[in-house]
Amino acid sequence: MKLKNLYLGIIASAFLFASCSSDNDDNNDVPLGAYDNGVIILNEGNFLSTNASVSYLSNDLATFQNDIFNVVNPTVVLGDVAQSLSFSNDKAFIVVNNSNEVEVVNRYTFKSLGTITEKLENPRYSVVLNDKLYVTNAISKAVTVYDAKTYAYLNSISLGKTAEKIVTANGKLYVTNAAYGSGSEVTVINPSTNAVTTTLTLENGINSIEANNGTVYVLAGNSTKSKLFKINTSTDTATSIESTTVKGALNMDIDGDKIYYTQGLGVYAMNLSATTFSDKALFSVADNSWSTFYGFGVIDGKIYSGAANEFTADGTVTVYSSTGTILKTVTAGLGPNGFYSNN
């Protein structure tokens, strides 16, 4: 965090510069110096092309820059399909799916610190626990483990089934065994033994998982219902609420004391303690482009959507207030798929 101070002056000048120039599409290609106090936007790029990129939007929505990885590291190629990102201390781990790489950067300067390649086979998501980086892999159906400081490969935990999203709570790892709208299980791993302790069978169509205050929340949506599970991480048992009117809910994100999700073109929210799904949308977005919610996130009460624009043109990121007022619209990179608060 001390790094932040080093770059304060640079931030100030960057803000000045930004305010007197166009603040959206016309990116300067000079590093801003610091990419905190804002939201990191991951643009996955086209499959089989090396056009994945990262964009930055400040919390006050005033400063925006595309291609920050490339601007800071002009000789390093981010790669082919930037799938996800996780933070640990002052580092960010960017999982580049089809490149079989994890790019490690300083989360504040975005300077490249190294590239992990060993044993990565179609990596998907990652999380850091006790200075170890855990990465899920689609082809090997395994979680591979690395030293989060030296990036050395340590070992693999074979699951033998789909390994997708991964979170940590109560000193344990929770991995969803579901992808592309099908799959109903969550595997619990004990990191001290690297063994699977239990597997929870929930509901088909698991698409989101998030740990919050020691509880793991899992959202499943399919053609007949939506179901939200709360996993008690002491006992690894789950309770649930469900809705058959709001079917196929996606994109769960917890912000403050609210659980946000989407269904079709609507954005919904309910309290963490809710006993029923909310079936009244906060607002709906216009269906003017396909896959409007390709990326979705809620940060400090603001709702971020990443429209993939059919993957044939740069994506559009729109920031909404909780009532659906558009606060900001920017053109990001190809296929914006995730928003990560970097404070």
Binding site: D80, S99, F293, N309, F311
Partner: protein, 611 residues
Amino acid sequence: MTIKLKVAFCFLLLCQISLAQNDSINKLKEVVVSDSNLKNFSNTQSIQRLNDSIISKNQSSLTSLLNYNTVLYFKENGLGMTSAPSFRGTTSQQTVVVWNGINVNSQLLGQADFNTISTRGFNSIDVKAGGGSVVYGSGAIGGTIHLNNDLKFADTFKNDFQIYYGEFNTLSAVYGITAGTKKWSFDASFTRNSSDNDFRFVGQEVWNKNGQYYNNTLDAAVGYKINDKNSIKFYSEIFDGERHFSLTTPNQTKTKYQDYNTRNLLTWSSSFSKFDSNLKLAYISEHYNYYEDINRDGHTSGGVKSFIGKYDLDYTISSKMKISTILDYTRNDGNGSGIGQSIREIGGASLLWKHTLTDKWNYEMSARKEVSDAYKSPVLFSVGSRYDFSDFYKLKFNFSRNFRIPTFNDLYWEGSGNPDLKPESSFQAEIGNEFKYKNLRLTITAYGMKIKDMIRWLPNSSGNWIPENTDRVTIYGAEALLGWKKSFNKHTFDFNGTYAYTVSLNDKTDKQLFYVPYHKLTGSASYYYKKLSAYYQIMYTGEVFTTSDNNPKYILDAYNVSNIGVDYNFSKKNIFKLGVKAANLWNEKYEALPNRFMPARNLTIYLNLNY
């Protein structure tokens, strides 16, 4: 780049280069063409013939042959990898490969992979621009590529052996035999292509990884003249190939793809009084295996077996009028990962009319209607006329409606297939001008078309990709084909050139379709002196957009690539030719698609024997 481009234009225009490759369609009476409709009902459109001498000067893939000699633009995923054309600004699925008169585009993908077609087994390859759905069915919108095994009924016995060996351990070898009497004709060949394909990218310390490939093709054609009125012909082709897909990033998981395609066609041609009939029975199969990780056993696979029956009856009313009907039935039987087991049946009827009004003026009209259990089909038609003003100038006009039906994947893909899809359909018109002056031939064709209901896979709001009839497209452009040949003493010069200007706009956005260049130009110059021959080829492809919003950030730069070759025939009577050629002579650094660099200058030596 700009200097080289100027040189290219100068080369083509000032030097008066040319096209109209050999106009020798059926110069010899004893040659029987495999596709009589191409000869009989395509007088109002432009056909460019690539004969065997052009075929042998080019690389063995259909991509390379057409890229350097025609107006087609190719989206090639690296040398030897999957490759699909854009003809007249249309999509890959709107160009048809026609094998001996039969449409052989993949039923799964709707398009042909031009790197899985080896050219050296064919006597000639014709490139017909414009609509052709009345005769060739689905996909004949941009144009059709005709692969011909023509049979020769004359006393002959020839062996042909060609071997090409070049850098990156690239081998192309073909052995062919041609034998015939006045009653029998036999033509067969076996082709082997393989390459390590591990070239270094120009100006980088990076090599093409996991790009190795091989393929084997067996072609055979047999003809028997039962009597003056009846003959039977049988054509067969087997293609077996494996390609590793080259990597776009160094640690990417290595994948590979296997193709196994068979084509069999039996035809019975018969003539009685004023009738000519042609019965064709074809059995075509396509099969693929895809390994998403070459170090693991698992793979996905799929295939379609097609049976096609076609009956073609021509009635010659008089020497000036001819009417023809085609009745056909197609059954496609698909099976594989993602599509399960699916069967599609299509029946069709076409009526064709050709009338010569005067010595100088004729017109053609044709129409077709298909009935299928899988989609609704519009009435297709073509009308055209040709007027020969003089030996110097001929004018052609053609107007047609064509279509492209949904593929097996579009209709049947589990969880995504859309059974309500309509075929894509087009209205298109063209005006062709043919000039001929002494040894110079010039064809200039201007065209325009409207295509609607373009099928595209789009992600919906729940993240599922589904094919939809979405876009409307307006395309217009012009093509010029130029040819010039001159001999004096023992010297012969032969120039050919093509140029295409293409505007292909999405009606909603008014933006140029991505992966359609505005400009493409090819040129070749050959020089023959006694038994020596030398040739130079050039291909210029203008910049292309890679995004639908034509964002300049993602433009793929124009490229200008030249090849040169020389060979000498040591035999007095036959052919014993040794040669060498250099591809990408000027070491152009270019990508055919993003992240798909092509090789630097590389050498090939070759030997051709024909006895």
